[in-house]
């Protein structure tokens, strides 16, 4: 009797396991996307925003039946903005969580560490915020992709093109933070702008120590420089807010035109209310001006993001959303989760984004995400200053494939 009931229990269990096995198989093992970002600390608003962007895409895809009958899953890990922690989390995701793809990072240093690891492990790594152009130029390899803008358009080329399309100022004075990104920014701006506008000149280059918060002496100098426009080379965050306040008090925005690229980023300006100083009328750039994008999908995405987090989406959120869809399309095209074949599918792929089709270039695996420019102003829709009358800049604002080839040649050590 005892053995009989024992057999019965075992067989029931066995059936249960088999059924469950079938059941699980029916739903399919999830395809896993590892997402490493800054979830705590100063940059956490970006990390959370990107994670949410990815989750929104995954919910949509899973609700429609997943990819090849399998659901997608995103696993997010915190890198604390530190390369060694980002690398550790990437290894954890690959070894323990068995993720199929790596995505993420805001810090270029973290991205570089993960990129090296992805190359060794032959895993695809897609960057969604980190800007350093070296990731896809000098240090490029087969397994890194970037669906995001990079530092070339953001700091130098996009503002140069924007100015060349609009005011074409001839006498420009620049102010930058005195460190490498500041210098690179001005160099890139000059490289693009000066050939486009004959007779244009940088009449003065001012450099403030990093973390300067009192720009009074720079502003009086700019005011008396007889330039007709000023260009802020990499003055951002708190420095930019302080500069704007002081320039406003000195009437600088009434006296000359302003090119203040970072002023299009909602993140810095969302604390500024109507009536307070802002970069009045300045040309600025933005990487996701959701208020100006008419695609209903973008409107829906923006709303979902705002409902979940209580703040507006960063450009990284849109990028992660596009990344998830890019992977879905590539996997469906290939018909399997096969890294090498997916890379071939991604190279040259036309991404269907909120902002039209965007191509992933083969030469640097960089998606030609647009940069928008416009004029900073207040509108009735939002309580903080934004760029208005926006226009998008495309592939023009990136290094060309020929330029990148030259950069890579110069960077490779010469064989003896």
């Amino acid at each position: 009797m005892r053995t009989k009931s024992g057999v019965l229990i075992v067989s029931i269990l066995f059936c249960f396991i088999i059924f469950c096995g079938f059941g699980c198989k029916k739903a399919g093992n999830p395809i896993k996307i590892g997402h490493i970002h800054s979830i705590s600390g100063a940059m956490s608003m970006y990390g959370k925003s990107c994670a949410t962007g990815g989750e929104i895409a995954i919910e949509e895809i899973n609700a429609a039946g997943g990819v090849l009958g399998r659901p997608l899953e995103q696993i997010t890990r915190d890198d604390n903005l530190k390369p060694e922690i980002g690398l550790r989390e990437a290894k954890n995701l690959v070894i323990n969580d068995k993720v199929d793809f790596l995505t993420g990072t805001i810090s270029s240093a973290v991205a570089q560490a993960i990129s090296n690891y992805a190359k060794e492990e032959k895993k695809i790594f897609i960057v969604n915020i980190a800007q350093s152009s070296t990731l896809t130029e000098e240090n490029f390899h087969r397994y890194i992709f970037r669906i995001d803008t990079n530092s070339i358009p953001y700091w130098g080329y996009a503002p140069a093109l924007a100015l060349a399309e609009t005011w074409k100022n001839k006498k420009i004075i620049s102010l930058g933070f005195d460190y490498v990104t500041g210098k690179d920014t001005l160099k890139a701006f000059k490289e693009k702008y000066l050939p486009l506008v004959p007779g244009a000149k940088i009449v003065g280059e001012l450099w403030a120590p990093l973390n300067t918060t009192d720009f009074t002496a720079y502003i009086t100098k700019m005011k008396n420089s007889k330039a007709d426009a000023f260009f802020l080379a990499c003055i951002y965050g708190g420095g930019e807010l302080a500069f704007t306040k002081q320039a406003w008090a000195h009437g600088l925005y009434d006296k000359m035109k302003a090119i203040q690229s970072c002023a299009g980023d909602v993140e810095t300006w969302s604390s500024v209310k109507k009536g307070e100083p802002y970069p009045k009328g300045a040309i600025a750039t933005s990487r996701y001006p959701f208020w100006a994008i008419d695609d209903p999908k973008s409107k829906e995405f923006t709303k979902k993001h705002h409902d979940r987090l209580g703040y507006w989406p960063s450009y990284g959120a849109m990028n992660q959303y596009v990344i998830v869809y890019a992977l879905k399309n590539a996997i469906e095209k290939v018909g399997a989760v096969d890294t090498e074949k997916i890379i071939n599918a991604l190279e040259g792929m036309e991404l269907n984004t909120f902002v039209g089709t965007v191509k992933i270039r083969k030469c640097d695996h960089q998606a030609m995400m647009p940069t928008w420019y416009g004029y900073v102003d207040f509108t009735p829709e939002l309580p903080f200053p934004i760029i208005t009358r926006v226009k998008a800049l495309g592939e023009d604002s990136y290094h060309s494939c020929e330029q990148i080839e030259k950069i890579r040649l110069a960077a490779t050590p010469k064989q003896p």
Partner: protein, 292 residues
């Protein structure tokens, strides 16, 4: 350079210099009497800024709240200074200099993290208060009234401090303690209390500067490090512990920076240090310091 450009740089130099003097005065007063180089002085200044933001934003409905913040903010930092002196600094007066540096450096980290916990990592701004919010015309140039107001504050603080030191009984006691601690003690002066009081005065000055800054700048973490190096330069140029020295040092540094920016912008980052090196070579005890 035409006259307008020169006057522009002079005014800006004075404005930048006076803001720095407001901070450096406290550093100088503390060093003069306690012989403590308070590395965390900039952090006290930053806390003043956060308090200004916190008071003005929490009680935004009260008219002229900024002026109330200007009274309350410095008092709060002075009380904080009192706690630091009584519970921490008193234990290390007899120890080597190294201990002060470690202690006050530790305070930078601890107080900075506290600010982060309380006020977060975002940027905050404070509007320019009435009636100093307009623009005025000086030498045919539009200039913000608030900068002129800051210059006046710097001069007023200098005159006020000098008057207290010279003409009041309190000033006499402080000078006596500064001159000879043992003798003052023997004469019945409560030296520890004078030390606490002077440290609180120094922190009050830092808090005053911190509260005055937000309307023209930004309240954020890291603003302490942006000013503290310049303040050290001022105190060294002027002569350690000499208030008039710090005043003159601040004006010189402000002007050298302003004209440096105008004439040799590539070297901006170096002017303060060059100035300090030159003065240390010529008079290594500072402009108004006393050779030891």
């Amino acid at each position: 350079m035409d006259i307008e450009a020169i006057m522009g740089q002079v005014l800006s130099g004075l404005s930048v210099g006076m803001v720095l003097f407001l901070i450096a005065s406290g550093l100088s007063v503390i060093f003069g009497t306690l012989k403590i180089l308070n590395l965390a002085h900039g952090t006290i200044y930053m806390i003043g800024g956060f308090l200004c933001y916190w008071i003005t934003s929490t009680f935004a409905h009260i008219p002229a709240i900024f002026w109330l913040a200007l009274i309350l903010g410095p008092i709060a930092t002075a009380l904080l200074g009192g706690l630091i002196e009584i519970f921490l600094l008193r234990r290390i007066y007899a120890e080597e200099m190294l201990y002060q540096y470690i202690l006050t450096f530790g305070l930078i980290l601890i107080l900075g993290e506290l600010c982060k916990l309380i006020w977060g990592v975002g940027y905050h701004t404070v509007s320019v208060p009435w009636p100093v919010d307009g623009k005025m015309s000086i030498f045919g140039m539009i200039y913000p009234v608030y900068n002129i107001f800051l210059i006046c504050c710097g001069v007023a603080v200098f005159i006020g401090l000098m008057a207290v030191m010279r003409f009041t009984g309190l000033g006499r006691i402080i000078r006596a303690v500064t001159f000879n601690r043992e003798m003052a003690n023997a004469l019945g002066i409560n030296v520890p209390m004078v030390y606490t009081g002077v440290f609180m005065l120094g922190c009050w000055l830092a808090g005053l500067a911190g509260t005055l800054m937000p309307p023209m700048s930004v309240v954020a973490l890291g603003t302490d490090m942006a000013v503290i190096i310049d303040c050290f330069i001022i105190v060294v140029i002027g002569g350690m512990g000499s208030l008039s020295g710090a005043f003159i040092g601040a004006i010189i540094l402000g002007l050298v920076n302003a004209f440096g920016i105008s004439l040799l912008p590539k070297l901006t980052i170096a002017f303060g240090f060059l100035l300090m090196i030159i003065i240390l070579i010529i008079r290594h005890w500072g402009l108004l310091g006393k050779p030891e």
